[in-house]
């Protein structure tokens, strides 16, 4: 099993573990350690260098710098349906659990073939910790991917920065594009830590920058929405462990039309305000 050295005693710590088996020193989160491995860092550095060379050739060095800086301040957004948001806010359990943890707790139906399809894709990218991960996307404008639900939930940076890693794109698309199949190792250079998210965004999206672009133009570059179509492009955030509702910074969503939904939304707004989150209702 892959491992890296303990930050204290230097013993091998399996990537599946968050604690040194020898000295018990807490290590960084498995997904973050995976992203911070020297081989990943080096491969990403090579991609960045390539991007900088291209940008220099196109006279976009400054724009690329601005884009990297802007996306380096981007936020994590999770999109949810109204029902799922309401469940999260009103449940006795304040935690939003990962899909697999939720399945362990009896989320029906369980163990079906369609669950396995999901497992195959996510496990290929994070083989040591996929069961613990929650997924979000990077955003510059507080809006997320409506395909996953009409309510965009932005998370407080302080609650995720140590345990989040950044991945190039939706793994289902990534695996297809990079021919990642069961048993094969995903290519290097497509993941990084939260702190270096701007670099990965620059490496990925430099080709979409133009000389005329200003800061507000960066948001749709970072997250390319195509209505509710599933092939929207975004940079994915992998968050290790459950997400507490206290970590919600803001929610943006449409005012529902149906009476039943209006009550749910109103109640959710009340709960969010109690949590200190901001709410923006869009038409």
């Amino acid at each position: 099993m892959a491992s890296d050295p303990c930050t204290k005693c230097g013993s091998d710590v399996p990537l599946s573990s968050a604690e040194c088996p020898v000295c018990s020193r807490q290590q960084s989160f498995p997904n973050v350690r995976m992203a911070e491995r020297a081989s990943e860092v080096a491969a990403l550095a090579a991609r960045i260098q390539q991007a900088e060379v291209s940008a220099a050739g196109l006279g976009l060095t400054e724009i690329l710098g601005q884009f990297v800086a802007a996306t380096g301040r981007s936020q994590a957004v999770m999109n949810r349906s109204l029902g799922a948001l309401s469940g999260w806010l009103s449940s006795s359990n304040p935690l939003f659990l990962s899909f697999f943890r939720q399945r362990e707790q009896g989320r029906p139906p369980d163990g079906s073939e369609w669950d396995e399809q999901r497992l195959a894709a996510e496990a290929a990218i994070n083989p040591y910790c996929y069961t613990e991960l929650n997924y979000a996307a990077l955003t510059l404008d507080g809006s997320g991917m409506p395909y996953y639900g009409p309510y965009s939930v932005v998370l407080k940076e302080i609650t995720i920065e140590d345990r989040a890693s950044i991945f190039e794109e939706n793994p289902f698309i990534f695996n297809k594009n990079h021919h990642v199949i069961a048993g094969s190792t995903p290519p290097l250079g497509y993941r990084t830590s939260w702190a270096r998210r701007g670099e990965l965004c620059g490496a990925k999206l430099h080709g979409k920058l133009t000389a005329q672009m200003k800061a507000p133009d960066f948001a749709p570059i970072l997250m390319e929405r195509k209505g509710s179509e599933s092939d929207c492009d975004f940079v994915e955030v992998h968050i290790y462990g459950p997400v507490n509702r206290v970590g919600i910074a803001s929610v943006r969503g449409v005012a529902p039309k149906r009476a039943g939904d209006r009550i749910i939304w109103k109640q959710a707004v009340g709960a969010l305000k109690k949590l200190g989150a901001t709410v923006e209702e869009v038409s």
Binding site: G83, A84, G87, F96, Y148, I263, I264
Partner: protein
Amino acid sequence: MRVLVSGQAAAALSLEAPRQLFFLDEEPVAAPSGGDAFRLFDGCVDLQEIDVPSDDVATALERAWAVDRALRIFLFLLDPQEPEEELHGYAECIEDLITTYDLASVIVERMSTEQFPVMVEVKRVQLASDKFPRVLELFNKILGLQGHIVKVQNAFANVSEAFFDSEVDKANLLGDLKAEGVFSEFAIALQQGNDISFTKLKAANRHLAYREAIAQWTAMLQSGSTRLPRNKNNGRDDLSDDELAWETDEDLQRPSSYGAYQYVRAEQVEIVQLLKLRELGAARAKTDTLVDRQRVNSTAEQIAKTLSLLAQQAKLQDIPELQLEWSERATLENPADPRTFGHFADALITVGRLAEAEAALDGAERAGGRLFAECGRARILSLLSHYEQARNKYLEVAREFDDLPGVEYAWSGAADVLKDMGRLDEAIAEYQGLTNRWPLSSQLWNGLAFVLIEAGRLDEAVLTFGKSSAQRPNIFAAVGRASAFRLSGRLTEALRLYDEAIENYPNNHFALCGRAEVFRVKGQHQLALAAFDLAAARSPFVAEPLVGRAAALTDLGSLREARTLYESVIERFPHDLAAPIGLIRVLIRMGDLETALRKSDALIARHPFLASAKTLRAQILNAQGFGDAALVALDVVTAHHPHNAGVATAKASLLISMGRSKEAASLLPDMRPKTQSDWARYLLRALVLQSANGPGAAALKLEWAIANCPFFSQRRKFRDALVSLELNRGRWRDARRVVERAPTETSDVMALHAYAASHRSGAARTMLEKIKASEPSARIIELATEIARRTKLIDEAPLHPNRWIGEAERRVILLEAA
């Protein structure tokens, strides 16, 4: 079309090509291939896979949405944190949803799987729903289900873990049962007093792998406190007019008293029903209300009688906490009535608070009830094993008040002490005299029957319990009869009788423990553990369920756990005798003979008439190598307890181990075995036969016993003896076949020897590891290791001569047989 649908997500996904996503109020869109689409449902707990015609997907989605929203808003309505001004709107919306989509039954079903998640302010909800009749009806219906939901939940929680691979496995089954509506059907059926058999059958057929778990779950619902009587009038039938007609004729002749009497009687019946259901809070509240109302037109004496009567009912239902509470209140209501103090003292004795009981008995005496008081004091002396003093006190008071009603209890107390002293023939004779004098007293017939059980005269005991029931059906006769059947190996009949007893007395610990004991003697250890746990949950103030659990753990070989449990029982119930006896047995099995000896000496010092403790002490001495001292000790016990079968068996075992088989044979009458003691003697007779007539004759006897003995632990001993016998005559494969026919009915060390001798080295090594891991006594370790050496399982030279193993095995078999 197979579709995943979630009302919470307000989305559906077709699982067949062409894959499409359906959102509420939108046109379907193409879904991506792979698993990405499934992320849409993250955080949703209502996901279902359903089959619907392709043009009905939108309708199914709409309905799923309505169910989710109605449930969600219903929960808001219940939540006391929600602003009051919003509740009306919630109720209106729910009314609209359940009317439009006809959701009432679905909501009841879904809300029947969990208790209300918050403390509900009932009045607030009812007020908010006042103008919405469907919502109000729904709320009231679900409110009424809460107690039954708890019962169904608790019963499932009590289902043995042994039926499941893991906790998750158990939780998954529960999730499935809830999703399939089984859980709610049970809760609703219990509320309505309906039969649950059909739902049980459906569930068992759907989850074949968990059939036994479901059977255990439903058994707890059927035979336990969670089930209403089959006939709703049963409760009324249970209480005779004698029990309920507590008012005197004079009282009833007073104007308006008859109406009050009728009211009180009806309320008492209701309270007894609540006791059966172990709805202690409700029973307490109803009793409070009844007493408050009685204050308007009844005397303090009548109120005290009500409380005393209910305390007696609580006693019959094995709920000592209410027995104690109500009997104490009765003494406060009417301190002039000696019977109230008598009942209070009885309650205190039941829970082992003997010093306080003495004080209550003083109160009874001050109120003029010397008969009550002296009988109570004699009972305490008996509990403390001061048998001579107890008997003298009973006899004195019986003679003093021989012409008073109720004096038969003093006489029966005196006879019972004889039983406790082991003077069974005298006890039987005294009881027979008493039943001649008071032939209508069911209690005296029961007393006689219990002595007959003790004397091993089980058929007579069954008949005598029948005579008791003929006077008045009662729980003691019912359970006693079941116990007689159990002891005589008629386990199916015993189980049926226990279940019947539990039907009417769901908290009776004798019945619950007896039922568990049936599982235990059948070798169904996990069922036994679960049944003892159920008994402990329903009768938390008595030692028997815990002692039973510890015995079951001992059977399972979990000796450390059993020891810990016994020690905690001894600390909590210092007057219980079964726990220290059990602890000594465990210590012997663990090989800690010194501690066992110290404990048995201490126990005998406190309870000099305890034959079982003295017998165990002799066994310990024998195990320590002091065979002669053990024989002397057993002779002393025999002198005091000439009819005690256990002592005779122990002595016979000791004599055989000393090579004095002929003397042993005289202690082992040749009779068709029935009880466990009979079967133990049968084993010893086989061993005597082996010495006299050779192994062939003994083997035939053992094979017959294996085929016919209903008791698991005895069968195991027969199988061990047969394995040892076959090994000794060099028939290794035959020995192994005996093991393989029933591996769980053979002890590990005998299985090790059979496997090793018949060249099944892998199985033998596994068994050797298992033996070492179970931390048995040094004697067993030594035997196992020598077998391993001799059969070259381990690379060590044997330390003993060749015949040593056979002799050591025989010693172990003899020790266990005793």
